[in-house]
Amino acid sequence: MIRVRARSAAAAASITPVAAGSTLIDAEPRSPVRTADLVAGARSRRQGRRRVVIAILSALIVVVFAVSLMVGQTFYSPAEVVGVILGQDVAGATFTVGRLRLPRAVLAIVAGLSFGLAGVTFQTMLRNPLASPDIIGISAGASAAAAFAIVTLSLGGAAVSLFAIVSGLGVALIVYGLAYKGGAAGTRLILIGIGIAAMLESIINYILSGAGQWDLQEALRWLTGSLNGTTWAQVVPALVALAILGPLLLGRSRDLSALQLGDDTASALGVRVERTRFLVMVAAVGLIAFATAASGPIAFVAFLSGPIAARILGANGSPLIPSALVGALLVLVADLAGQYAFGTRFPVGVVTGVLGAPYLIFLIVRTNRAGGSL
């Protein structure tokens, strides 16, 4: 057992730039005690790398967050921004930063964290990088319900979130139930999800076509996601959901890693497979639904965060937190770029969509060529 562990640790170490692979291989034939030490060393190095990645991502988020508060039609100095955040009354800045930019930037982070975390959860659970909530119809379900509540029923605030979460959960259960046939097979689940997503998108289109007075910009919120005109009333439910469901998901990360080895292996390792899968799915769908009710289904963030984080992290521990951070960073940067980098103000979902599309296709090409898990 220890020998096997050591070998896989050596393999991991030689993949990652962390040097010392050679010493590991040299050391392998020696006494088991020494091998165990080496395993412990490799593990702590991997932990170290994970910590470094998380620290760098967090720092980047803070920087971009600060920039997005300072930059705009009018530039405000860091001192002014800090003043506003601390609740002081700064002429001009209190409204612009406090009312316009702060909720927008906070929602960018909250939605990004939620999408990133939920996306990687689904990808890990279904063992397929393409099985993210935006491809298997869950985002579309939440979005259709939110659009229906807002456009057709003229509701707002908590009622919209309620609609989104009920419908997101409903869609997830329907997809899961339809795919369940003596155990839910991943491939069937993905295909059924694609079918459901197509149906829901046509419903969104219908809802929007009935709302004549809504302009294209507003409609885009429900098609690709947008942070335009964010208010605190939208941010708070998503923030609360993240605060409750996020830790719940993170607490399950060990079971999730076990699930990645396959259902049989996971249950042999003592994971209650169906129960874990159900709990994790409910939490992840909840995150998606609350974030979608606030910002719309920001395209491809749930899908992209996991693979990007895995790229940065290598095989160094659970990808959940890094993926969430990557998601937040993606949304922040894309929103900043969408607002100021082009002649037109693009909603954030269009930017992430255009950025994400080539990556998605690249990923499919690579997976297909490797004959991977598809």
């Binding site: 393409l130 935006d134 491809i135 339809l178 795919a179 046939k181 097979a185 491939t187 069937r188 993905i190 295909l191 059924i192 694609i194 079918g195 459901i196 997503a197 197509a198 149906m199 998108e201 046509s202 419903i203 289109n205 219908y206 076509s209 009935g210 294209l216 910009q217 885009l220 098609l223 690709t224 395209a299 491809f300 082009f342 002649g343 037109t344 693009f346 909603p347 979902g349 269009v350 969509g353 255009v354 994400g356 599309a357 080539p358 998605l360 296709i361 499919i364 090409v365 997976t367 297909n368 060529r369 490797a370 004959g371 991977g372 598809l374």
Partner: protein, 347 residues
């Protein structure tokens, strides 16, 4: 239903039917199409009498009832044409890719046509119907080739799952690009949006005349490749052994399907799932012989689109629901049923 062993590659049940039965079904479906077309003339936000329909078909516009019948003629004709084109294209695509989930909507072909048209409108000032059609066909062809080559990389060739994923991913990608192209142009976003929602409501004989040549050529190419598609269904090796030039046959049949999809999308906007549902339904009636299946799919596709159009007028009276939305609502459950029926291994 006399279901026997599933075909080795497509996983579709083989049904043998005597020609007498097939002929009977063909007559029945044609009769159904005529009946539905008459229904489509009769139903709408204004109720008309039988006398109005007869007079309206004669070209009279004396009363309001007759005038509304005359207005409903082109949209019925267009629904028949577009439905037939999409049904046939779907059957051919399923034959070419030997894939039960092939459909112009699922495989991203419609999205390719849409992006090409939107780019044409936004950047090149495209305004003529013929221009729409050519651009749509080019876009459809590029998307079809792209999705098929991405989906057939790697082990096992173009499996249904890989193709469907590649198609869904490409559709999602193209949708983002469509938005990115359309958004900065507030002046034309109205045109683009109305075209995208499309449907057959805004049909005129003028636009039908523009698209007719493309549809006719597409029909001819597709129907003529029926025999070769029969050989192809046995697998590439056996088809080659029977003297088919597999790659050529496949390319020609796919070209016919792309012509039909592109032309249909150009006049009616992207309409999904007709091409998926119809051939599966027809296979139950006439079996897997492409020489019967292809014409049958065309007629049944026309029926489905006319029904969807009529339903869209009834459900939301006095306004209308776009035919593409109705077909998606009908088609997605069928898609799911097909997925559920397949064995996981076959996916």
């Amino acid at each position: 239903m006399t279901r026997t062993a599933p075909a080795p590659d497509s996983g579709v049940a083989i049904v043998r039917r005597p020609n007498r039965v097939r002929l009977g079904w063909l007559v029945a479906v044609l009769a159904l199409l005529v009946a539905l077309s008459l229904l489509s003339l009769a139903i709408g936000s204004r109720d008309v009498t039988l006398a109005d329909i007869v007079a309206g078909l004669g070209g009279s516009v004396d009363t309001l009832g007759e005038a509304s019948v005359v207005k409903r003629v082109p949209r019925t004709v267009l629904a028949v044409i577009v439905g037939a084109a999409l049904g046939l294209a779907g059957a051919v695509m399923q034959g070419v890719t030997r894939n039960p989930l092939a459909d112009p909507g699922i495989l991203g072909v419609n999205a390719g046509a849409s992006l090409a048209v939107v780019i044409g409108i936004a950047w090149f000032g495209l305004a003529s119907a013929t221009g729409y059609i050519w651009t749509a066909i080019v876009g459809a062809a590029v998307a079809a080739v792209f999705v098929y080559s991405v989906g057939s990389l790697g082990r096992g060739g173009a499996t249904p799952l890989k193709l469907a994923l590649a198609g869904a991913a490409t559709s999602a990608a193209l949708a983002s690009f469509i938005t990115a192209v359309a958004l900065p142009r507030g002046d034309i976003s109205g045109i683009i949006r109305s075209w995208q929602i499309g449907g057959v409501g805004g049909a005129s004989f003028d636009s039908i005349r523009q698209v007719a040549p493309f549809i006719v050529v597409g029909f001819a190419v597709c129907l003529l490749s029926a025999r070769s598609l029969n050989s192809l269904a046995l697998g590439d090796d056996i088809a080659a052994g029977l003297g088919e030039r597999v790659a050529v046959v496949r390319a020609i049949a796919a070209l016919g399907a792309v012509l039909l999809c592109g032309a249909a999308t150009a006049v009616a906007g992207p309409i999904a799932f007709v091409g998926l549902v119809v051939p599966h339904f027809c296979r139950l009636l006439v079996g897997v012989d492409q020489r019967w299946l292809l014409p049958f799919s065309a007629v049944a596709g026309a029926c489905l689109l006319v029904v969807a159009d009529v339903l869209g007028r009834i459900v939301a009276r006095p306004s209308e629901i776009d035919v593409g939305i109705i077909t998606a609502l009908i088609g997605a459950p069928v898609f799911i049923a097909i997925v559920r029926r397949q064995k996981v291994r076959a996916l």
